[in-house]
């Protein structure tokens, strides 16, 4: 009798464990910039509250994340991986080690050269690259280039050669880090000074200040592909396409956790929507967690399509 009671007690203890085992442990990368942090927090919330997962956040950056995937098959889920800066991804995908879950930016990330709107208002010709090169002094005489090690640096260096910046008297300033590039753009806009440089989006700085994308002409896939390699013999003129930004999962994770893989494959944002969220976050001094809460409370219809029925029920208890 005692043994029976003991067995029943043990079984009762095991029950919560069984209930938890539906999802288990998930390691989720959190990149060190605003948009990625926000997406990670939304994903984490849905996983924990909807699917009962035990989520570990792994602070990360593009290069470190792709290396970790290559060498350690970790973390399980990597949201907002910019493929242009992680060329190793294509090789890993071909080997079958990682899988693309989805395009987390539904219309791709934007990469562009920008000038402030007050400059274009006073001088409409500055909206095109030819107009800028004809009047370099109007935009400050300097092009703010990406730091060394970013994918855009290679493309920009080739485009600089193709557009012949030196012949038009346009200097190039190579930034040391992304922080100084955003700070330079922000400080120029605050002081209403001329600015001409590269920025990618969606970012808080683009969401906060009204910049105009410079018209660089049409996009040509072959020319751009060559521009993105270091030893491109014939750099050409081409605009930037929308940059592919993916959520990537390890192949193991997709197999062992198909429900959560399905969730992650549906989480996706438009560029404009995310920029607005980031601008809201900056204006309200909110943390990425609070911005995630704001997104979840304001966009119930959007994320309800992402989760399965069981999760939807659990989450409705919170968002009644």
């Amino acid at each position: 009798m005692k043994k029976l009671l003991f067995a029943i007690a043990l079984g009762a203890l095991a029950l919560p464990g069984v209930a938890r085992a539906e999802c288990g442990k998930v390691s989720l990368a959190e990149m060190n910039w605003a948009s990625a942090s926000l997406i990670t927090k939304v994903t984490e919330f849905l996983m924990v509250q909807g699917y009962g997962c035990e989520v570990t956040l792994v602070p990360s950056a593009t290069t470190t994340a792709i290396t970790s995937l290559a060498e350690n098959n970790e973390p399980d889920v990597v949201p907002e991986l910019w493929i242009n800066s992680a060329p190793l991804y294509t090789k890993l995908e071909a080997e079958g080690k990682v899988k693309k879950a989805t395009d987390v930016f539904s219309d791709g990330g934007t990469e562009n050269w920008w000038v402030p709107d007050y400059l274009v208002k006073d001088h409409p010709e500055l909206a095109t690259i030819d107009g800028i090169l004809a009047n370099p002094a109007l935009v400050g005489g300097k092009f703010h280039n990406c730091p060394d090690g970013w994918g855009c640096r290679i493309a920009n260096d080739n485009l600089i050669k193709a557009f012949e910046f030196d012949k038009h008297g346009m200097e190039v300033f190579n930034h040391g880090s992304g922080e100084t590039l955003s700070a330079a753009m922000a400080s120029a806009y605050e002081a209403k000074e001329p600015f001409f440089g590269y920025m990618y989006g969606p970012t808080a700085v683009l969401g906060r200040y009204n910049m105009v994308a410079v018209d660089m002409g049409p996009y040509d896939a072959d020319i751009h592909a060559c521009n993105q390699t270091v030893d491109c013999a014939t750099p050409g003129k081409s605009a930037y396409p929308a940059a592919p930004v993916l959520t990537v999962v390890t192949a193991d994770f997709a197999e062992r956790n198909p429900d959560v893989f399905d969730l992650v494959s549906k989480i996706s944002f438009t560029s404009q929507g995310l920029s607005q969220l980031l601008a809201w976050q900056a204006d309200n001094g909110a943390s990425s967690e609070e911005a995630a809460v704001h997104f979840l409370t304001e966009n119930k219809s959007t994320w309800e399509d992402w989760v399965n029925d069981a999760a939807r029920e659990k989450l409705s208890a919170i968002f009644n």
């Binding site: 300033f173 919170i318 009644n320």
Partner: protein
């Protein structure tokens, strides 16, 4: 009901606090999840509520009284006040720091335009003049030739020019400050916390706001970063060296009727020279330590290669560039130590 409601009700400030809006500012995750447990009414005082008593921080008090300022309002306030008076700061600081820009640009141009053979010969000559040691001169030339051999010459020269200018300015500004500190206890009390802050405050904390003051395209930004960090050892050690001068020697100088200035230049500084030179040595080392951070704010040189290695995951590039920085540090260290040894030897007693 917030925990600290009683405070504001008791002080009679409820009218000033105003109506509690359900979402006073962005909702936090904790608040969202709290909506799940809608059944649990908080009934009075319990042991549990003592254990989980929240600290009366700005955010916590704001929950009880919406008029109360939150921490994020405070940080926003700091930001706004900085943006507010940065224009007036700019008017004062820009002309003061412009010479730094000119010096850095000039040095970078000079070191870059001089042909390699002339440069290496010149540096070898300077080494010999400072240390009078043929071995050291050979070592320095060897290191520079090695760096040139692995195509790091241009980067090494950029780093070297920046270090020379910054270390020179550190010594030029730091020694007088150290001397002033040594003469006045009050000034020392004022300066020590400032020096501590300069050494420990993370550089990026004040560098990003500085970008709003000066343009990041100007060399003075990273020049200021390096100087603010590296000036501390020479200031401290000059102060220490002068204060450590034997009191009996000072008494003897007083007995001879020396004026303060004669004492300073004739007795104190020569006797403090070992410490001052140690300070100069440390200043140069700390300038080199700042190379990579300076490259984060667009300084040219070996730091750029290190960053490229980090970002592209080219371990070799980063390691070799880092090794280049170490080698530069070693040669500068040896040369200043040799100069210091000669200074020590010449000022030690027994030469008459």
């Amino acid at each position: 009901m917030a925990t600290y409601d009683f405070l504001f009700d008791g002080l009679g400030l409820r009218a000033w606090c105003g109506e509690k809006v359900s979402s006073g500012g962005p909702m936090t995750m904790a608040e969202l999840l709290a909506k799940k447990n809608t059944g649990s009414a908080d009934t009075g005082f319990s042991l549990d509520s003592i254990w989980s008593l929240p600290f009366p921080s700005l955010d916590e008090l704001n929950r009880a009284c919406p008029e109360f300022v939150r921490t994020r309002d405070m940080t926003k306030g700091v930001e706004n006040s900085f943006l507010g008076f940065k224009d007036s700061l700019k008017v004062v600081l820009d002309p003061l720091t412009q010479p730094l820009s000119w010096l850095l640009e000039g040095a970078l141009y000079l070191f870059g335009a001089t042909p390699w053979w002339l440069m290496i010969l010149f540096l070898a000559a300077v080494t010999y003049a400072a240390s009078k040691s043929v071995r050291l001169m050979a070592f320095v030339s060897g290191v520079l030739l090695f760096l040139a051999f692995i195509d790091h010459y241009h980067f090494a020269m950029e780093t070297l020019s920046i270090i020379f200018v910054c270390a020179f300015l550190c010594v030029l500004l730091g020694v007088p400050i150290g001397i002033a500190m040594s003469r006045s206890d009050r000034m020392q009390k004022l300066m020590i916390p400032l020096l501590d802050m300069l050494q420990t405050l993370p550089t990026f904390v004040y560098l990003i706001p500085l970008i709003f003051l000066f343009s990041v395209t100007e060399p003075k930004l990273y020049g200021i970063a390096i100087i603010l960090y590296a000036i501390v050892p020479v200031v401290r050690l000059t102060d220490l060296g002068i204060r450590l001068v034997d009191q009996e020697v000072i008494e003897a100088a007083n007995a001879f009727g020396m004026t303060r200035r004669q004492k300073l230049y004739g007795v104190q500084i020569p006797l403090a020279l070992p410490n001052i030179m140690a300070g100069v040595n440390q200043t140069i080392m700390m300038s080199l330590a700042m190379v990579v951070i300076a490259s984060l704010v667009s300084a040219p040189g070996l730091g750029v290669l290190v960053l490229r290695g980090i970002r592209n995951l080219e371990l070799g590039v980063g390691l070799v560039a880092g090794l280049g920085i170490v080698l530069l540090a070693v040669i500068l260290d040896r040369v200043t130590k040799a100069a210091l040894a000669r200074v020590n030897a010449s000022t030690s007693v027994g030469s008459h």
